[in-house]
């Protein structure tokens, strides 16, 4: 229980820039990230034994399901009829695809697999995107009554503010910090810093959450090459080991939870990942967490054990989550600034950690990073996935 049957490592990563890719199709986005990852790993596609893809809603956004076969086809992997699988868990689709691929390689079934995440969101008008994103929440008992995804996080935010003294400025500090990080990431959707004043006074989306409290809609794709440690050491000088992986669930609807200022799915996924890795939150120097909304990051850094419950907003205000402070949270810019192409997000988080742990993160490099954590949730936290990576 709680261990992998053999060691697993990442030997290659690739990502498109996130943003509005009016000229690129879903297929082209997938190809670009996939080939960058294989080039980074220094292997040919003939070595790939299985493919996992995290995509939330190609059906709603593109009227196209069965994208596992589509991606396998366009990257030339159908020659050998390799297994190609699509994983869906709303915004956690990418992180969960990675988790499943880890289990595959650890089981011994395959030695080298590619994991991708992709979403194409800009082909629909914005109010339809609002409706499609809300499909990750409970459509029968939340969406039908007018609740959007940001409104459900706004309910969490106001409750957190009421119970713990978190302020609108604390929320804004998350966005300011993540935009400052994103300004150093050449693949981020937004590479410009914002001021606290801009964030606090932005137009409201779902009060108390304004425009700068919400991650954007994005097109993008991210991909990585995963293999067993023996193969990794043959193919790579700097493989990054999967130290721990954990998944947790909770009710789809917010109304069926005892509390809404913490996510039990995150707490459980983190506990499982920490136990597998044999470490605790105090050992983590760099984390990519799921800031789909600013309140999401505050709740996440509490649930992951980095800060006491209720202290997440205050810790952010104290600057303890900024680059090279107590713990660097979202050096990539997070979902807020890097962008949030739903299914691609979980893979992009892993890729950022790989760059950080290799020491290849340039202007946003976290000093002495040897262990990193990625946290990816679906919807309002019905699914959470936590992965911990370390330098070999």
């Amino acid at each position: 229980m709680g261990t992998l049957a053999r060691d697993v490592a990442i030997i290659g990563v690739g990502q498109t820039r996130f943003g509005e890719h009016w000229n690129l199709t879903f297929r082209e986005l997938g190809i670009e990230a996939g080939f960058r990852a294989m080039e980074d790993a220094g292997i040919s596609s003939s070595r790939i034994e299985a493919l996992y893809t995290g995509t939330m809603s190609s059906g709603l956004f593109l009227n196209q399901e069965h994208v596992s076969a589509m991606i396998a086809e366009v990257v030339g992997l159908t020659e050998n009829q390799i297994p190609a699988t699509r994983i869906e868990a709303a915004g956690a689709s990418g992180g969960l695809a990675f988790h499943q691929a880890i289990l595959d390689v650890a089981s011994g079934l395959h030695d080298i697999v590619v994991v991708g995440g992709a979403e194409k969101m800009s082909d629909v008008v914005s109010n339809l995107a609002t409706e499609f994103v809300a499909s990750g929440a409970d459509q029968a008992w939340e969406g039908l009554f007018g609740a959007t995804m940001p409104s459900l996080f706004a309910l969490m935010a106001r409750k957190h503010m009421h119970d713990h003294g978190t302020t609108k400025e604390h929320l804004a500090q998350v966005a300011v910090k993540n935009h400052a990080h994103g300004a150093k990431n050449p693949l981020a959707q937004f590479q410009r810093e914002i001021t606290l004043n801009m964030a606090v006074n932005a137009p409201m989306v779902a009060d108390p959450l304004g425009m700068f409290d919400c991650a954007p809609t994005s097109d993008g794709s991210a991909s990585l090459v995963l293999c067993d440690m023996k193969t990794a050491k043959e193919l790579s000088d700097d493989p990054i080991r999967v130290a721990g992986t954990g998944q947790g669930s909770d009710s789809l609807s917010l109304a069926n939870r005892k509390e809404i200022t913490s996510m039990r799915s995150t707490v459980a996924a983190a506990r499982r990942a920490y136990e597998m890795a044999g470490i605790g939150p105090g050992d983590i120097r760099v984390a990519e967490v799921h800031d789909s909304y600013t309140i999401s990051e505050i709740i996440a850094i509490e649930d992951l054990g980095f800060f006491e419950k209720g202290d997440g907003g205050f810790a952010t205000e104290r600057g303890e989550t900024a680059l090279n402070s107590t713990i660097t949270v979202n050096p990539s810019g997070g979902l807020k600034a890097r962008g949030h192409p739903l299914g691609a997000t979980g893979i992009a988080q892993i890729n950022e950690l790989v760059l950080q742990l290799r020491g290849d993160a340039d202007g946003r490099q976290v000093k002495d990073a040897t262990v990193g954590l990625a946290h990816n949730i679906g919807g309002t936290g019905g699914t959470a996935v936590v992965n911990i990576l370390e330098v070999v």
């Binding site: 609002t130 609740a147 409104s151």
Partner: protein, 133 residues
């Protein structure tokens, strides 16, 4: 959407009816066919349970960018409500200005039109809430 999708939820949406487990006494909204505490022992032992519709606002939000079928109503208020029976529910607060809504205020259920599928499509009805005087 097919009419049946809404028709089968009418008792819950129109009357705020859920279920109660005759084994442990726990009650649930929306209705369930298995008690999440008693599991298999509860099969066949769940009965209709009528919620009073009275509750307290635990949290709320004022929505400025709404779902497409609600876009003509913005800004509108959605609240997380603690029902007096102990369950929670998410619903819209109507008949008051958004500025009157506060955490801790009492609410009661009202029956209202929710949305319609275009000018000639079906109309959805269900529960909303208003501040109690």
């Amino acid at each position: 959407m097919a009419v049946a999708r809404h028709w089968r939820n009418q008792d819950q949406r129109y009357n705020l009816a859920g279920t109660r487990c005759k084994v442990c006494g726990g009650h649930f909204f929306p209705k369930t066919s298995m008690c999440p505490s008693c599991h298999r022992r509860s099969l066949g032992k769940l009965e209709r349970f009528q919620f009073s519709g009275n509750g307290t606002i635990s949290s709320f939000t004022i929505i400025h960018e709404g779902m497409p079928q609600y876009s003509s109503q913005v800004p509108y208020v959605i609240a997380y409500i603690d029902l007096e029976e102990g369950d929670h529910i998410i619903g819209q607060i109507v008949d008051s200005e958004p500025s009157e809504v506060e955490i801790g205020k009492k609410v009661e259920m009202v029956f209202r039109k929710l949305s319609e599928e275009g000018r000639s499509g079906t109309i959805q009805y269900g529960f909303k809430f208003r501040l109690t005087p």
